[in-house]
């Protein structure tokens, strides 16, 4: 006869309420794990979608995600010429925040070369960008319909396609434009600034005694064009030919002045160990604290349930019930409570995961690990009740 099940059956509503409460707690622990995994996936999303072997950035920086990096776009031609490099493309990245329908509207803009690396990995609706200017692919999460217009840097961009589940390391949805457009948005000054800077340049040149006024006026637009060039990228990514030695290519580029070639693994390390390390630690600690709280709550519940049954336990002992039956009663209830609470937590999270504003990844190994921890907590928690039960004297069953 299973005493644990019969006792639970006898006080169903109390047991179910307790399991519900614990289930909510375990659901929060599961969501912490999911958010933790989501952080990692988000942080490496663009990195993985780009699938580059090398990320060439400005020297002494850890760009382009963790730090600012500006390099001339033209360096891509030099990189393409390095033996072992199969493909190299310039990319630009920038965070954009504006207002849309009266609410803050934030996204991460990627500029890529048509036909090059780093473009949208998947188009779930519409089409990819085909024209060099004024077309944009946005993440579905931005909730802008195909054919709608989005104003960026004073120009209107038409939404031609939707990508999905592409977010930056900060969790912002990603949009894609051509590199030329992205450079214009990021680096081009507005008309007033251009006019001011040209006038300033002209007056400086006119003051130079070595130049005649005619020479100065002819040089001004040429110098302004060079100074105002927007052919700048945040990084140049490269993919190597099969069999090429990554270390050798990296070593070769690192010998150039002004550039730092980072491997995909280096970038992953920068993103996961640098940018999201604290968030990861925070979530880990929160998860740990919640598990300790769950353990304390289960212990208290099991202990209280044991206290409620002291006379029953004393009676069982007096009529010769073996200790293993009494231990089984407490242990099985504790385990059953943990398992049911776990299932409730899982169902709750599975039903609400799409409501989370940030990515939430359900990973089997995390769920299995949590299940194992819950079982250990239940066994540990039941020991408190078992210890109390073993100390009950059969004599306590006697008397009124």
């Amino acid at each position: 006869m299973n005493l644990a099940l019969r006792d639970i059956r006898h006080q169903k509503s109390r047991f179910i309420q307790t399991c519900l409460g614990l289930g909510l707690l375990l659901g929060v622990v599961m969501s912490m794990s999911g958010i933790y995994r989501g952080l990692f996936t988000d942080a490496t999303g663009i990195l993985n979608a780009t699938a580059a072997d090398l990320w060439v950035v400005q020297q002494d920086t850890s760009g382009p995600f963790a730090a600012t990096s500006r390099i001339p776009e033209e360096i891509k031609y030099r990189i393409r010429a390095v033996p072992g490099v199969a493909q190299a493309s310039a990319l630009s990245f920038q965070n954009i925040q504006s207002e849309r329908h009266g609410a803050p509207f934030r996204f991460f803009l990627v500029g890529y070369e048509l036909g090059g690396m780093g473009g949208p990995p998947i188009i779930v609706a519409g089409r990819p960008i085909r024209q060099k200017h004024y077309e944009i692919v946005v993440d579905r999460a931005m909730k802008i319909g195909l054919g709608e217009q989005l104003q960026l840097g004073g120009d209107d961009y038409t939404i031609v396609g939707h990508t999905a589940k592409m977010v930056s390391s900060a969790g912002d949805p990603v949009a894609y434009v051509t590199l030329a457009d992205a450079q214009k948005i990021q680096f081009k000054d507005d008309n007033n600034a251009i006019r001011n800077s040209r006038e300033k340049l002209a007056s400086q040149l006119e003051r130079l005694p070595v130049l005649s006024p005619n020479q100065a006026s002819q040089l001004t637009p040429q110098i302004a064009k060079i100074v105002g060039s927007t052919h700048i990228a945040n990084t140049v990514v490269a993919r190597l030919s099969p069999g090429a030695d990554l270390a050798e290519v990296q070593d070769r580029i690192s010998r150039w002045n002004h550039y730092r070639p980072l491997t995909g693994k280096d970038q992953e390390h920068i993103l996961t160990e640098g940018m999201i390390k604290k968030a990861k630690m925070q979530l880990g600690m929160f998860r740990g604290i919640l598990l300790v709280i769950s353990g304390v709550i289960i212990s208290l519940i099991i202990y209280t349930m044991t206290l409620d049954k002291l006379r029953v336990i004393a009676t069982l002992k007096l009529i010769g019930t073996r200790n293993r039956v009494i231990v089984g009663l407490i242990l099985q209830q504790s385990l059953l409570m943990g398992v049911i609470a776990y299932v409730i937590g899982f169902v709750l999270i599975a039903l609400t995961r799409d409501k989370f504003p940030r990515r939430w990844d359900l990973v089997a190994i995390d769920l299995q690990l949590l299940f194992g921890i819950v079982i250990l907590i239940c066994i540990g928690a039941s020991l408190v009740g078992i210890r109390k039960a073993m100390r009950v004297e059969p004599a306590e069953a006697l008397g009124g």
Partner: protein, 232 residues
């Protein structure tokens, strides 16, 4: 052979000036089929006697023989399996019947049988027969909270009898019952003692029930001060 034999049974709590003699040199025998009453005021040693015979309290001195097996000789013999003896040779009936609240009447009886190695099916069959014989056939699946005082006590008696013990120890079994139910329970115990050839020792304050006993021991300050026999 006697069902219970006790010689100079003594239980002392504490030592030195905190010493309390709860039971002093109690000596008597109880034959199978005999219904014995243990009477006396509170603190006279009645319950100590019961718990000592019931292997709940270890005696300080003296000898207890239960169905031919020595269970105490100046304390418990080393290696004595208390639970086995309680399961096989003893049945307990309590003042508050002590039924397990989350088990039905039939399950309350079954657990005593399962403790003794019976399979669930056989335990169920025997429990139903036993409860039916005690007039509880219509209450088999009722929980203790839904049973009357008399029905609860009869269920507790069924549990005590389940393993056909040689000795049944009852602690104030009629205290919580009205006179009619109390007399019914006493009548039932007398009938069962004879039918099962079990010795039944009943601790009671209840003077209304004394005429039902075959023999009565009266205790005071831990000693037997009187022994009377009823010629019923």
């Amino acid at each position: 052979m006697y069902a219970v034999q006790i010689e100079n049974l003594t239980k002392i709590y504490g030592s030195g000036h905190t010493e309390v003699v709860a039971l002093a040199d109690a000596t008597f025998d109880v034959a199978p089929g005999e219904l014995v009453g243990i009477l006396g005021p509170s603190g006279s040693g009645k319950t100590t006697l019961l718990t000592t015979i019931g292997l709940v309290t270890e005696p300080t001195r003296g000898r207890v023989v239960l169905d031919g097996e020595v269970i105490a000789e100046d304390g418990w013999p080393p290696g004595l399996d208390l639970k086995r003896i309680r399961r096989e040779k003893l049945g307990f009936i309590f003042q508050a019947h002590n039924l397990i609240p989350f088990l039905s009447a039939v399950e309350n009886v079954m657990i005593a049988l399962e403790n003794n190695g019976f399979g669930a099916k056989e335990a169920r069959t025997r429990s139903i027969e036993l409860l039916e014989s005690l007039g509880l056939g219509h209450r088999l699946n009722h929980y203790p909270a839904l049973l009357s005082g008399g029905e609860s006590q009869r269920t507790a008696i069924a549990r005590a009898l389940a393993n056909q013990p040689r000795v049944i120890l009852a602690d104030e079994p009629t205290a919580a019952l009205d006179t009619e139910n109390g007399k019914n329970v006493m009548g039932l115990l007398k009938k069962l003692a004879v039918e099962n050839n079990s010795a039944i020792l009943v601790v009671t304050h209840d003077q209304r029930m004394v005429e039902g006993f075959d023999r009565i021991f009266t205790f005071s300050d831990g000693r037997i001060v009187n022994e009377t026999r009823n010629n019923v």
